[in-house]
């Protein structure tokens, strides 16, 4: 792409998008080097994603030498949890968005290119899915399949694909009318070829932008499910679960209302920065690429 250099320059020049990039790079770093940053204790080697705990008391304990971020409800180590939770966050975010984009491209381009009855059927199916409030549908799916990280991924995939299919369809519709598509059709190119070589590449930008925006949103939805008790199993390194552990400790005893700040803020900040990073990046992408925005 000849645009690449331009894009990169735009991204770095804009302070907000630069901030977004830095945040995401830091998280990638944390995810890759998690075993070095927070080594798994000997006794835990077989299940590194389960947070080690130090006793069973409900009340969180403040940061100490053994637990530099303190422990949360049930004496789970917060530091270990947030570091390894970064991996869970990337896993949920990337897997869900990856699957969703593929499904969206497949169905969206079929609908957009062929139109007519194919379009009608696919769009009615997306209507069905869009008719449910996402969180409620995800709740129902997780409740039916039994809570686990994989079920959360399935549930979020099921609720997110329709909007992608619609987006791609809309863009294909727009592109379809353009001259060069008409031209290649006129030259007798096959449908698949026209979709793959011409229509898709031009329609895919908005999708990718939306996808980068959505990674944060997906992680947030996963956290909400976790909070409602419909997420990863107890003790699994997952930010949503860590924040939900803090639920009953947000307000401390009278006279010391912020007593358990560490249990509340630290996992919350990780979610916040993760979502913020992807959002800043996504917004920047959109400003740069949105074909409807005049490049000034």
């Amino acid at each position: 792409m000849t645009d690449w250099k331009f894009t990169a320059r735009q991204l770095v020049r804009n302070p907000l998008s630069l901030l977004g990039i830095i945040i995401i790079v830091i998280f990638v770093f944390i995810a890759i080097f998690a075993p070095l940053i927070a080594p798994t204790p000997e006794s835990h080697q077989q299940r590194p994603y389960m947070i080690p705990r130090d006793g069973y008391r409900a009340q969180p304990e403040p940061p100490s030498e053994d637990h530099i971020f303190g422990t949360t409800q049930g004496q789970y180590d917060i530091f270990y949890g947030v570091i390894w939770g970064t991996r869970s966050a990337f896993r949920v975010g990337l897997v869900v968005i990856g699957i969703v984009v593929v499904i969206g491209i497949l169905l969206g381009s079929l609908a957009g290119y062929f139109g007519g009855i194919v379009d009608e059927i696919i769009m009615r199916i997306t209507d069905v899915f869009l008719a449910f409030p996402a969180l409620i549908l995800a709740m129902a799916i997780v409740a039916a399949l039994g809570p686990s990280l994989n079920t959360v991924i399935i549930a979020l995939t099921v609720v997110s694909w329709p909007s992608y299919a619609r987006l791609i369809r809309g863009d294909i519709l727009q592109v379809r009318e353009e001259d060069y598509i008409e031209a290649s059709r006129g030259l007798g190119a096959s449908s698949a070829r026209v979709i793959l070589r011409h229509a898709l590449p031009n329609a895919i930008y908005p999708t990718l932008i939306m996808a980068s925006l959505d990674i944060g949103a997906v992680v947030l939805s996963a956290a909400a499910l976790s909070f409602l008790g419909l997420g990863a199993p107890e003790g699994y390194a997952d930010w949503g679960q860590l924040t939900s552990f803090a639920r009953n400790w947000i307000v401390g005893p009278p006279g010391d209302p912020l007593k358990y700040w560490y249990a509340v803020t630290i996992p919350g900040l990780f979610i916040l920065f993760f979502v913020l990073g992807w959002n800043l990046l996504g917004d920047a992408f959109r400003d740069i690429f949105d074909p409807r925005l005049a490049r000034r």
Binding site: P233, N248, V251, P253, P254
Partner: protein
């Protein structure tokens, strides 16, 4: 630019005005109590004079006294309906008359004769008569809701556990009207005391016969029994309607939100101390706590884990060290239904599951009992407010043996037993299954995690997943269909007698033992012998013997017997403790609320 700013300014001004408007009544309402206390946080204002507001988490299941067998239902029934006799304040062995003015035991005929109080009115206007008493008990027995409380009536009256197998004539003969008296004929003299204790419970509530019949309940004849025997849940009129003789009557039941009772003006005793008793369902702990501290609630449910958060508040009435007659255990099912069961892995002893009879080997069970860290559980989960009972006969019951043999936390012994289990196969291949607790009960969850962690530590092929399921809709169906493998559950006494703890845990028909396939005809005979023994010394020996059998059989892990706590605002007076009162808020009729 300036115009946009001014627009923003307008929005701010309007917002402030609205807030001020809203704040005005709020401030005038609470403006009187402004002094701050030195320590222990701000003073709690006095609110809602004449109204008792409590915030808890359980929704009543049913208002039908013959069907109710859960605490939240029992609590409301206790305030609306009345029984023939009641416990005398805190004492579990002394009784006071409620709807009976007198009661006499005749050892020769094995009869209890109750003289019925005159001039008592039901909320809907009916007068109390001996026929109402007879009808109430007969209705409970012919209804015989499965999983309900009526088994407790059948045992002393007919030496039976349920209506099936009996006739109406049998039931009819046990309770008869005689002038202004009602005569109960017991099956054995061993039940003399137990009968009085039993009918103090909500299942002994007296309903209005005419009113019930007029509203489609059982009409009192044998012919109508098939229409009401084990009637489907939710279909009895009394399920959602109340008409008792108690100090309060039903005002409104807003499902899932609140339950409101109002004072009954024609009550036969002194009128109730509160115009309204309002029980709100508030699931969120922080919300409950803030409401208590703001004076909007007079009593809230405080889980053990949150005690340190409000311990230091000066304006609270704090009551502690209450000897609850309750126990929490983990049960091991010795004959698991394997069909359609998601909780036993492969269903084979191959390292990825367990067979249905896994727990029938005593070495497995003993290994588990030694692997549970009792002291950590009391310290970390109970915050030292509880003890480990050696057997189901808990402290406070006649028959409790403080020196009974008990299991302790001993990983070496656990390893020894688990190595011997199933001819060494368990140790070699390992196992995998899912343990279940009722979701929301974090204390039971933590207990299971202690066990799971320790087993994993002994041998990392021992894998127990801990999963929470909702009680009514998730656990109960699995339990009753024998699909639960290892599950945590609690028992609170129905009446303060060792038998009420032995039978559920050790008999073939017991609430727990039945569903873990524990017990035998021989053991049942031993339990009955202990119950019916009339000589106190002998009886004590027999209960001691049962505790030894429990130890030898090792059927379940006894986790803890809690010590109770209660938290009111300082404006509440008159609380006294009786472990048999179903509501945590206590004997509301004897309590009061005032600003002083």
């Amino acid at each position: 630019m300036s115009k946009r700013l001014s627009k923003l300014g307008w929005i701010v001004i309007i917002a402030l005005l609205t807030l001020a408007l809203v704040a005005f009544p709020a401030c005038t309402q609470t403006g009187e109590e402004e002094e701050e206390e030195e320590n222990g946080g701000p003073a709690i204002p006095y609110k809602n004079d004449g109204i008792f507001v409590q915030m808890t988490i359980g929704e009543p299941e049913t208002l039908d006294p013959a069907a109710s067998y859960d605490n939240a239902s029992g609590e409301q029934i206790d305030l609306v309906y009345e029984t023939l006799v009641d416990y005398d304040r805190g004492a579990a062995g002394d009784f006071v008359g409620q709807l009976a003015t007198d009661w006499v035991w005749n050892a020769a005929d094995l009869t209890w004769t109750f003289t019925i109080r005159q001039g008592v009115k039901f909320h809907e206007g009916g007068d109390l008569s001996p026929e109402d008493v007879e009808y109430s008990f007969e209705r409970a027995m012919i209804y015989d809701r499965l999983g309900g409380p009526t088994w407790m009536l059948f045992e002393p009256l007919l030496l039976a556990g349920e209506y099936a197998g009996l006739t109406f004539a049998d039931v009819d003969a046990t309770v008869e009207v005689d002038g202004n008296n009602v005569v109960f004929t017991l099956a054995d003299a061993g039940y003399t005391l137990i009968w009085l204790q039993t009918i103090c419970g909500g299942w002994g509530s007296i309903v209005d016969k005419e009113w019930c019949i007029a509203n489609g309940e059982w009409d009192g004849t044998e012919a109508d029994i098939p229409n009401h025997y084990q009637q489907e849940d939710g279909t009895t009129y009394l399920w959602t309607h109340m008409n008792g003789t108690g100090p309060w009557k039903l005002n409104q039941w807003e499902h899932g939100v609140q339950f409101k009772l109002e004072r009954f003006d024609d009550y036969w005793r002194e009128p109730a101390p509160f115009d309204f008793v309002i029980s709100q369902l508030v699931e969120e702990w922080t919300t409950r706590k803030q409401a208590l501290l703001a004076g909007d609630a007079d009593f809230v449910l405080v889980d053990k884990m949150y005690i340190p958060e409000i311990e230091g508040v000066a304006d609270l009435l704090k009551i502690k060290d209450l000897g609850e007659l309750a126990v929490t255990s983990m049960f091991m099912n010795q004959d698991i239904e394997t069909e359609d069961n998601d909780y036993i892995g492969t269903g084979q002893l191959d390292g990825n599951g367990i067979p249905g009879d896994f727990f029938s080997d005593p070495d497995v069970r003993k290994g588990f009992l030694y692997a549970f860290d009792y002291e950590t559980a009391i310290r970390d989960i109970m915050l030292d407010e509880g003890i480990t009972p050696p057997s189901p006969i808990v402290e406070g019951l006649l028959g409790y043996n403080p020196d009974a043999s008990r299991y302790t936390y001993d990983l070496a012994k656990a390893e020894e037993h688990l190595k011997a289990a199933w001819g060494g196969q368990v140790w070699e291949k390992g196992f995998k299954f899912t343990a279940i607790y009722n979701s929301g009960n974090d204390m039971r969850k933590a207990a299971m995690e202690i066990l799971a962690e320790n087993l994993f530590e002994i041998n990392n092929k021992f894998q127990v997943a801990v999963v929470g399921l909702p009680w009514g809709t998730g656990m109960v169906p699995l339990l009753r269909s024998y699909r639960l493998v290892l599950y945590a559950c609690g028992w609170g006494g129905d009446y303060p007698h060792a038998h009420n703890f032995v039978a559920p845990f050790m008999s073939t028909y017991g609430t727990f033992s039945k569903f873990m396939s524990y017990g035998s005809a021989e053991l049942d005979a031993t339990i009955e012998a202990a119950l019916l023994e009339l000589d106190p010394e002998e009886q004590l020996d027999k209960y001691y013997e049962l505790q030894q059998i429990w130890y030898d059989d090792a059927p379940a892990i006894m986790c803890w017997q809690p010590t109770g706590r209660r938290w009111f605002t300082k404006y509440i007076h008159g609380f006294f403790f009786n472990p048999m009162i179903p509501g945590d808020a206590g004997p509301l009729y004897y309590m009061s609320k005032s600003a002083s």
